[in-house]
Symmetry: C2
């Protein structure tokens, strides 16, 4: 029997840098899979089906909602976005570790249905830095900037729902921490107790002494 893989949920406020960290982590660890979301919005130029998103129509999405087919989903500006349950579970059951990059509201929903996931909260090194990062994205009015920042600040309270927090000071430091968390989780006794005890039982049949 293959040990199940981990679902590693990488989350945090907008501007904390979770997208950059996920890309860098996947570069370092090509054994990891990334969870691909499903959406009803139209593909943009250059977006590839099954890599950026699974693109489906509204009927298909809603019928999947009814069949409990999502770990979480949300409706944003009249378009659905969701994490397909079967897609993730198939990967995890085949022993793959899956990265799911997601906002805080989504992560909290995933935790309800998949509490055995590894929930990692990415924090900016300071609120000053968070402000700079949100600013740098441009394309924001001053008003929406304040709104975004205040909402990011409020969301910090959810850190206590997570297993780990990584303060994103530099990409290299943070990726090392994410990498270490994955290795450490695979050594956790409460996660793999059954397989440890099974292998111990297997050892019972070994010759003690010859």
């Amino acid at each position: 029997m293959v040990d199940k893989g981990l679902l590693i949920v990488i989350s945090g406020p907008s501007g904390a840098g979770k997208g950059t960290l996920c890309k860098a982590l996947l570069n370092k660890r090509c054994d990891l899979s990334i969870s691909v979301s499903m959406t009803t919005r139209s593909p943009r130029a250059g977006e590839v089906e099954g890599r950026n998103y699974f693109f489906v129509d509204k009927d298909k999405f809603e019928s999947m909602i009814e069949k409990n087919g999502f770990l979480e989903y949300a409706c944003v500006y009249d378009n659905y976005y969701g994490t397909p349950r079967e897609y993730v579970e198939n990967l995890v059951n085949s022993g793959k570790d899956v990265i799911l990059e997601i906002d805080i509201q989504g992560a909290l929903k995933v935790k309800e249905v998949y509490p055995e996931g590894v929930f990692i909260f990415i924090l900016p090194p300071s609120m000053e830095e968070l402000k700079n990062r949100i600013k740098k994205r441009g394309s924001e009015t001053e008003e929406s900037l304040i709104l975004r920042f205040k909402s990011a600040y409020k969301e910090l309270n959810y850190v206590s729902k997570y297993n780990y927090v990584v303060i994103n000071d530099t990409v290299d430091n943070s990726v090392e921490k994410l990498h270490s968390i994955i290795i450490a989780e695979k050594c956790r006794v409460d996660r793999y107790k059954d397989s440890i005890l099974n292998s111990k039982e297997g050892l019972l049949h070994e010759q003690f002494y010859d």
Copy 2:
């Protein structure tokens, strides 16, 4: 305020290789401290006070027992061995991460008085390999070999009392796992929730927007 360091308890059956791993880990991570035991036995040639052991007489040891001065202690062949509580607590309180290499009985006692420690069980890759390692040490009669092996085997049941298990296949792999466990533990929300929330409170006084 300095974040407290970790007490990292590295334990497992005799022959699992915990001594070799601790040495290799301390070579890789010179920021770690090692817990030095106290004993009433006489120093052997080359042993240095405060590095190999703290050497004390029986009266001193027993008065420390009375003052609850040990995280654990045991009497072996008429000599006391113990882990001095104040020595370890001073290091941890100053922010140092402390490695304590100890047998399983000792680790279980430490866990009772210091449950916030990180308890890591070192397993040999197989019982066959454990047998070979115990054999290699030589200086064992066949009888004592069987006894040692059977006791090591029985002790495997205690793995469920630990936080982590590291299967010692190669020194390099195992040291990477130990190193990762230490990094990951420092990211755990339940360990550092207070200091995360404190730093968040501190951020309240930052300018939101200028």
